[in-house]
Symmetry: C2
Subunit: 247 residues, 2 copies
DNA sequence: GGTATTGGCTATGGATCCATTCACTGCGAC
DNA sequence: GTCGCAGTGAATGGATCCATAGCCAATACC
């Protein structure tokens, strides 16, 4: 789920490991902090604090903030500062509308190249999801499931964008998952089963159809919960010192 | 056509004008150079040269290269250098496949909010396009036409991505337009007319259908011309000193 | 007492200088 | 003659230092 969209940035060989270039290391660290929820949307990110915590100068931090801004994870305002991106409901719906068109494409491009082992793993993950009640575990498994269905997609541009949007909505998916009722889970399981069945039949049309519905239904459900986006301005709360708690 | 995707980067008030921050100024300059064709795909971009030409230090240039990399216009390799992004045919087809799903979405979101004046201007532009034989003029008008059809889209995320892909394929569209035959032009004009008619009828379904076909046909046509992507490696040719010729 | 202006402080933006790394070239050995 | 290794050079990555733009508070004036 934390697959890093290498959006034309450094292809510095070793990916998320101990990246050779400091900019990438800092970016990886901050990305992990944001995706894990340590840094919540709206949180201020102070260059100096991050630099001190990671034992680097402010320069790699600045570049990292640009990289993350490109991925949509941070917002940088000139002569002002950087914050973790926050979405209002309209923006979040926008992302879901994009995903509704884009992920079926990724799936359609992927299905012809999925191996039998990958399809088998899909079923394993789906079963695990149905047995899960823990929200965080569900999120992790759900992410693995969907991204695995896209694993066969050879078009890097598409997978990069899918990853990107997956990341930017991470926080809202987590919040959303918490308030899903039992009937909601049942529908999700049903959709997963239908998608996987279509994949097994190599039926890209059906698979895309069910996936479109899956995302669309989620978007409409999300629209019924505006309270997810009404947390007050706490721009200056929980400043970036929370970034250090990952060490 | 050179609408700048403000992908979470600086919202430094004045956009492409004399941006207050040097990073943005440099990014704007390089973007213009790339989109205009002065800097061709594969061209090496040397930080020092650009810095000298724009009267800035290398630091803003570095940040500008990151910004442009995020937009897909440049590629940065650690400890190696930066180049104008080059696509092979597979990547270009990938972008077209994305556009095939994304731009109909933008159009569908736009149509309900288009004003009568905008629709009227669409017809004006379409007529001008049909009278045009010059390739560069066609490119400019075609860009204005399509982006105007998306002008009503309120979802900034979508328009940002549309602009981004429009920019990254700019060079290939130019090359492609040169080898279109008369019958090709006729089909393009027909598609434009159908799309605009659907827009006038506020028929988003038809409009999306025709637009999908328009892009898809272009992609398939493009696939028949692999010679567009076979220009040999001239990585070290026409280095970035061409960037200065815009002043 | 309220408001506006000014001054200081903080955080970011930019410039210069140093370290690092990759690539090219030249030499030598097989 | 060709392959491989080492050395040199240039360009990038990183660190420190300085300038500048916002923001907040304190003070003075209305």
């Amino acid at each position: 789920m934390s697959r890093k969209p290498t959006t034309g940035s450094d292809s510095s060989g070793s990916d998320s490991a101990g990246a050779a270039v400091a900019s990438q290391r800092v970016a990886d660290h901050l990305r992990a902090a944001i995706l894990s929820g340590e840094l919540r949307p709206g949180a201020r990110i102070m260059q100096e604090q991050v630099a001190a915590q990671l034992g680097a100068s402010r320069l790699p931090v600045r570049e990292a903030l640009r990289i993350l801004a490109a991925e949509g994870l941070t917002v940088v305002k000139s002569n002002s500062g950087a914050w973790v991106s926050r979405m209002d409901m309209a923006e979040c719906e926008g992302v879901y509308k994009i995903r509704e068109r884009l992920e079926p494409l990724a799936l359609g491009e992927s299905i012809p190249h999925l191996s039998a082992e990958q399809v088998a793993e899909l079923e394993t993950i789906a079963r695990q999801i149905e047995l899960t009640t823990d929200v965080d575990r569900f999120l992790a498994l759900d992410g693995r499931l969907h991204l695995l269905t896209y694993a066969g997609c050879r078009v890097t541009q598409i997978t990069a964008m899918v990853d990107r949007f997956w990341n930017t909505t991470q926080h809202y998916r987590r919040a959303f998952a918490r308030l899903a009722g039992d009937s909601g889970w049942e529908l999700i399981h049903a959709e997963h089963r239908l998608i996987i069945d279509a994949i097994k039949r190599a039926d890209t049309v059906d698979a895309e159809r069910f996936l479109t519905g899956h995302i669309r239904r989620t978007r409409l459900e999300l629209a019924r919960h505006p309270e997810l986006f009404t947390e007050d301005d706490h721009d200056n709360d929980h400043t970036a010192d929370a970034a250090g708690s990952a060490d």
